[in-house]
Symmetry: C2
Subunit: 201 residues, 2 copies
Amino acid sequence: MTMDLQTERCGVDGAAAAARRVIDALVRAGDISGADMAGIADRLNAVADDLEAQAPPLRDRLVNMWRGDGNTRHDPAAGPENPIAPPLAYTGRPDGSIESDVTLGLPYQGPPSSVHGGVSALLLDHTLGVANGWAGTSGMTAELTLRYHHPTPLFEPLTVTARQVSVDGRKIRTTGAIAAAGRTCVTAEGLFIAKPLPRPR
Amino acid sequence: MTMDLQTERCGVDGAAAAARRVIDALVRAGDISGADMAGIADRLNAVADDLEAQAPPLRDRLVNMWRGDGNTRHDPAAGPENPIAPPLAYTGRPDGSIESDVTLGLPYQGPPSSVHGGVSALLLDHTLGVANGWAGTSGMTAELTLRYHHPTPLFEPLTVTARQVSVDGRKIRTTGAIAAAGRTCVTAEGLFIAKPLPRPR
């Protein structure tokens, strides 16, 4: 085992990955599982009790989670520390775009066996923001338009891409898409306003 | 204790509520907590192992989670069975709109101490869909436009509202908003296409 793997297993990332398994298994179970749900609730509440007893003050955690000026690790789309996030992991491409491959399960369902349109919106909004950071000029989302061309399948590899298109004064325009097996399912156009975003210090 | 409370505590809803506490506590902890994260990961993986060992076949669960023709209980915005969902709970209003009050914590963060723009998009997309169901004509999201007017605060009561505006042939137009302390933070306009959506049987 390499040190990297060991670090991942022992840190909050490993606990978040385990929490993702719990989320998926609970949605899979619903109320037709043979599992002892009262016992499961007791065990999860005990974990939450132990974590809360050791929790840092909120202010300290806010400073900590926003340390540095680059990417953060806690957000609900790409944050390895956040069990809500799939999480997306990005690769920068030479043309200035970014890309993430992901397969989504039942907790992200909208229509039967399809990704929830709002989940696609969450992943695209975040990815457009990361594309802005990759291009060097970031901003706050002012307007986001999503177009749904085809259902986005669950349980199949998806590719989420985004690219900064233009910067005109404070106005940043960025586009993105989610595709499955080469077919575009959702496209996004975002208008962002460049402004310094103070981080908690 | 009433029977209703007992049912909730013992079913999957109680386990999902406990999983929400774990998600919140993990994001609060990050890597500056004194908690034994390797031990936490082991305990969560053991819960996932037990749930997975009792999991119904996926096909059975899909039929089960889509039973009936009304609202479902598993989605990532309002589903009490889904730990990712806050979850929103809706009230219909006499004017045909619907409303949900919710307070969001750290797992839903975008900018510092503010709700992630993509989370607002998720909650609004879903709420527009519920407003369509409430009005009697539902459809699939074709286009969704979000406008971000002010940061949406974490840790403060939010009101999410939506209303079906028009039905013209198969085209449904629906609007919604998220407000905090009476101030509109995000607005949404959706175009939905009415079509029968076959449910797994």
